[in-house]
């Protein structure tokens, strides 16, 4: 198994290196589905150029990364072969994912004792678990989305990495709240939304502590620590930047969506066509919407925090203000972790088709709109809308399947009424 994983990774590295030789990267670097104003590589370069000529990159409206990222990439630039670095990152990720999986069974069957009888066929079997790492690695390595962001040198790779690490921390060092929150802070620091991951983490620790104290007792420290780290990081970039202006051009930029260039999300055209006096109101609505789901989920999924975490990653990646393939790549690579619930999903086929169709049509329609000038914005908007819809179907379907499976785990798979008739299970 391990061999094949390694083989997979190597294959991935090779395929990326190979693609770097084609002119695909140049094309991808400016594709608006792949890179956003925040993660675009050319904007980072612009920031560096400005820095070099003693102009603060934040005086303009081109550069939106946080400062240390900027310097970090500065370092990277010294490693000549950039592609190597990227693929190295990928490798890193996959290894982490792999190690994370070691602990899967523990996670998945925490309270096996409570299960109902004859649920063998829905229980995770060890052979599934064994095949799982390979699948995850394979999916990640050959996932066109993560390949594309790797080729486009999008800085989303970095944020994904930090999220990965944070997951590992979360799972691996079961007790280590300190590091976990640190990594949440890091990823929040770069792409703001992850701050919401504090909730799952808290409920996780509540969980692993086997419900020792009230859950609220777990929220407070994790949030507190998170805030501490976050402030620390901000402090660092303040010391680098020497002024707080960067706050507006990074988080302000994320929060009130001044840049309306198309992406795969729902924001851009919505706020292009929005009436001025409703703008603020709707921005609040949309931003809240992207995190509000954490509350019901926190209640519903308190028994399985890892899944909760995954749901949050997914939902934020749908509803963040500048989504890109980077976020989707992240989610899809982790999707196979819930392979055991797939058999309960209802729209997998439809969703898959929608994904494929949108991914193929998006660039075509963009070309027709922007270059050929023969189609107009609505065509492209339709596609991005469909794409978001597909993601929403997927995430809701996954949630459904997960809950449905849990139901079966506790109530057995063949559902009989008192009178012994089989019947169907419904939400009520």
């Amino acid at each position: 198994m391990a061999v094949s994983v390694v083989f997979c990774i190597i294959a991935g590295v090779i395929c990326r290196l190979a693609l770097f030789q084609t002119d695909l990267p140049i094309w991808l670097e400016t594709k608006n589905e792949v890179v956003t104003p925040i993660t675009a590589w050319e904007r980072v370069e612009e920031g560096l150029a400005l820095k070099k000529s003693m102009v603060s990159p934040y005086t303009g409206d081109v550069f939106h990364e946080v400062q240390p990222i900027n310097s970090l990439i500065h370092l990277i630039l010294f490693l000549k072969e950039l592609s190597d670095f990227r693929t190295f990152l990928v490798l890193l990720k996959t290894i982490f994912t792999y190690s994370r999986l070691k602990s899967t069974p523990k996670m998945l069957h925490l309270d096996v004792k409570k299960y109902s009888v004859n649920v063998e066929d829905v229980l995770l079997k060890s052979k599934d678990l064994r095949s799982l790492p390979l699948i995850v690695v394979a999916v990640h390595v050959f996932n066109p989305y993560s390949i594309s962001i790797c080729l486009a040198k999008s800085t989303a790779v970095l944020s994904n990495l930090s999220i990965f690490i944070f997951i590992i921390r979360n799972i691996y060092k079961l007790d280590n709240l300190l590091l976990t929150t640190l990594f949440i802070a890091v990823s929040t620091y770069q792409s703001f939304y992850p701050f919401i991951f504090c909730l799952p983490v808290a409920s996780y620790f509540y969980h692993v502590s086997f419900h020792s104290a009230a859950i609220i007792k777990h929220y407070i420290p994790s949030f507190g620590l998170f805030l501490f780290w976050f402030m620390l990081l901000l402090g660092i970039s303040y010391s680098i930047e020497g002024s707080w202006t960067f706050l507006y051009s990074t988080y302000g930029f994320i929060l009130n969506v001044p840049d309306l260039s198309p992406n795969v999300g729902v924001f851009w055209y919505f706020f292009t066509e929005m009436f001025e006096h409703f703008r603020v109101f709707f921005i609040c609505i949309f931003q809240i919407n992207s995190v509000i789901y954490s509350i019901p989920l926190a209640v519903k999924l308190k028994r399985s925090p890892v899944f909760f975490l995954y749901m949050m990653i997914f939902i934020t990646s749908i509803f963040k203000s500048y989504p890109s393939y980077g976020d989707i790549g992240l989610c899809l690579s982790l999707l196979p972790l819930w392979k055991h619930t797939f058999s309960y999903m209802r729209n997998l086929f439809v969703v898959t088709c929608m994904y494929i169709v949108c991914t193929v049509f998006a660039p075509i329609l963009y070309h027709l709109w922007i270059y050929a000038g023969s189609a107009n914005a609505n065509f492209y908007f339709a596609i991005t809308l469909a794409f978001s819809a597909a993601q929403i179907f997927l995430v809701t379907d996954l949630l459904f399947a997960f809950l449905r499976r849990e139901y079966d785990l506790y109530h057995g798979t063949n559902h009989k009424l008192e009178n012994g008739k089989t019947t169907q299970v419904v939400l009520e």
Partner: protein, 638 residues
């Protein structure tokens, strides 16, 4: 979401679909094709109209009165051409423009022949262009009038000297007018499209590997529209409008309408692809006429090669078309350079009135006549129906039942219940294994595709030392590749001695293949409906109906393989050139075929024509997927 989520409904649908599947497929396919053709019938499509108010076609009176100048220019030019046999009197033209007091420039470029030749060898070329500065505007916009410089050698009706005369006469007239809001750029291009491409590259500072164009010494603003003239020296009898551009892109319908309207105003006969409109409207003959016109247009569009200089402007989002003077045996009216000048003057007055770039009217349309148009909204449904045939087919397969959760199966009758739940996880693993088993096929077809795409470069390079003409080497090389790919299922057998066929879930394979195919066709249709339509017509029936291990489906598949598609199209091309005698036809076909592949590649390298890419990189692998199916064995059904 309702239908998707409600299990009962979904069951019903699926049951129905699976029951009448074949019937549905056939109906949809035929309905699609005939529905498409029916659109050419006048009552079924809308009549053309102007949606851009600014054009104000024909409201302004013609002021061009320089008939004698126009004629004398024409004669002088003839003299000059006679005088300097074999070479074009460029300097004479240059002088003429300069004497009118326009900013006139030479533009040099060089062509590196992509095939076989060493890179350093270059063919030099030279365009002449001349800018009439709008008097009271600040050179922020421009419109282009272009004429290809054709060698005196070509056939008289291919000559464009008349166009040059018209251009000079108009330049002289326009020079005196004060009402220009846009600069007018007169361009004379050498080697037709190549010169045009070079000039456009120079104007937009875009780089190309094979056409190296020098910097332009003078410039104007962004180009709003362009009219290309192909008017022979002698009087013509009718004007033919050519629209189809690179990769089947079309100019804004308003531009086309404008030209038609003004031709009518000049009482000149106007044709599309040399097809006249019939006079009576709702008769069978008129319908036939419209279908032919439509088919001609779609044929040209499908080829993806521009039908004239205008085709190259489209890439730069510049609306352009070609007005071609045609001569017939029994003219009912002859049109000299003066009439043409008046027509073009009218067009340019209207273009000058334009305040925004063309954005109002349609860009996706098919013209069955100069009076009517079929918009994307009309032709997409029939096309969609045609493609839907494959989508319906997909639903036949267990694959679906697998993708859709076991949730429905619970609804199914009680007795199946237990088995269902048993082989559930079994099924999942099977699915995975199924997909895995298919991966090699996909991999191979991708490999073949990339070979077919990159091959030509190699071939032509090797062809040079072997004293082979690049055409031949291409032809044979690609044929060889094709044969190899046809034989690829046999390669598998080597590994598996026990079975004479592929071990893979053919239904899943077909399912995937069909999805890929319909996706491909749809995305082609977005850019070039004609190409998608023709390919669809050919491939869809075969690919939907094939089943493993029947020689019939093998044959059918071979019939719609990319190779034979090219072959068929070249036969049609030959037939369109009126080579009816069969032997000659076949001979022509062979020639055409070589020529066609060769030209497509040339277009790809020089202008970025996608047709070859699509065929080799998209259609070919898709076909290979299907090709694997008849070589599967049926016994491992899921």
């Amino acid at each position: 979401m309702g239908v998707l989520s409600d299990p009962k409904q979904r069951q019903k649908i699926i049951k129905a679909v699976t029951k009448y599947n074949k019937l549905l497929c056939v109906i949809l396919y035929l309905g699609g094709v005939f529905g498409f053709l029916a659109l050419a019938f006048e009552p079924f499509h809308a009549g053309t109209y102007f949606s851009e108010n600014a054009l104000l076609p024909g409201l302004v009176e013609n002021e061009f009165r320089l008939d004698s100048e126009a004629r004398s220019y024409n004669e002088e030019l003839h003299k000059e051409i006679k005088k300097s046999d074999k070479t074009l009197p460029k300097d004479w033209m240059f002088k003429q423009f300069q004497n009118l007091g326009l900013d006139t420039y030479y533009h040099n470029f060089s062509l590196h022949y992509p095939f076989g030749m060493p890179r350093d060898k270059a063919i030099p070329g030279q365009n002449i262009y001349s800018i009439l500065r709008a008097k009271r505007a600040s050179s922020t916009e421009a419109v282009v009038m272009s004429v290809p410089l054709r060698h005196p050698g070509v056939m008289p009706n291919e000559q464009t000297s008349g166009g040059i005369a018209v251009m000079l006469a108009l330049a002289k007239h326009f020079r005196k007018q004060t009402y220009w809001a846009k600069d007018i750029v007169f361009v004379l291009t050498e080697f037709d499209e190549i010169g045009m491409q070079a000039w456009l590259d120079g104007y937009h500072q875009t780089k190309s590997d094979y056409i190296i164009s020098e910097d332009l010494p003078g410039r104007s603003g962004p180009i709003q529209a362009a009219i290309n003239l192909e008017i022979p020296g002698e009087a013509v009898t009718s004007y033919n409008i050519k629209l189809e551009g690179l990769n089947g892109q079309l100019p804004n319908l308003d531009l086309c309408n404008l030209v038609v309207r003004l031709c009518r105003k000049e009482r000149a006969k106007v044709t599309l692809n040399k097809q006249v409109d019939s006079y009576e409207r709702e008769s069978w003959d008129s319908y036939k006429q419209s279908v032919t016109t439509m088919m001609y247009m779609m044929w040209n569009q499908a080829s993806g090669t521009p039908t004239g200089n205008h085709g190259l402007f489209h890439r730069y989002h510049i609306e352009a078309l070609t007005i071609q003077g045609t001569q017939e045996e029994k003219p009912y009216k002859t049109l000299g350079v003066e009439q043409t000048s008046r027509l073009v003057e009218g067009i340019f007055r209207s273009l000058n009135n334009l305040l925004e770039r063309f954005h109002q009217s349609f860009f996706f349309y098919i013209l069955p006549s100069t009076r009517g148009y079929i918009s994307i909204g009309l032709y997409m449904p029939p096309f969609g129906a045609m493609i839907a045939a494959c989508l319906i087919k997909i639903s036949l397969f267990q694959a679906i039942a697998l993708w859709i959760s076991r949730y429905e199966e619970e609804e199914e009758d009680k007795e199946t219940e237990d088995k269902q739940s048993d082989d559930e996880s079994q099924k999942v693993t099977d699915a995975v294994s199924g997909i895995v088993s298919i991966i090699p096929v996909i991999a191979i077809s991708m490999l073949m595709a990339s070979l077919a795409y990159t091959g030509p470069k190699l071939l032509t390079n090797v062809s040079h030392p072997f004293r082979l003409r690049p055409e031949d080497s291409l032809m044979f090389g690609l044929l060889a590749l094709f044969c190899a790919s046809v034989a690829f299922p046999k390669m598998f057998n080597k590994k598996k001695p026990d079975h004479a066929v592929l071990h893979l879930d053919w239904k899943l394979l077909k399912c995937i293949a069909l999805i890929v195919q319909s996706l491909t066709l749809f995305s082609i249709a977005l850019m070039n409906i004609s190409l998608a339509f023709f390919i669809g017509v050919a491939m869809v029936p075969v690919t939907t109906l094939i089943v493993p291990t029947t020689s019939r489906s093998l044959l059918l598949l071979l019939l719609v393989s990319p190779a034979s598609l090219v072959f068929i199209s070249s036969i049609i091309a030959a037939w369109l050139d009126q080579h009816n005698d069969i032997s000659q036809l076949l001979y022509m076909t062979w020639g055409n075929m070589k020529h066609c592949i060769f030209m497509k590649l040339l277009d790809l390298y020089l202008f970025g024509n996608w047709t070859y890419t699509v065929m080799s990189f998209v259609i070919f692998p898709c076909w290979l997927l299907f090709w694997a199916i008849p070589n599967c064995n049926t016994d491992i059904d899921v």
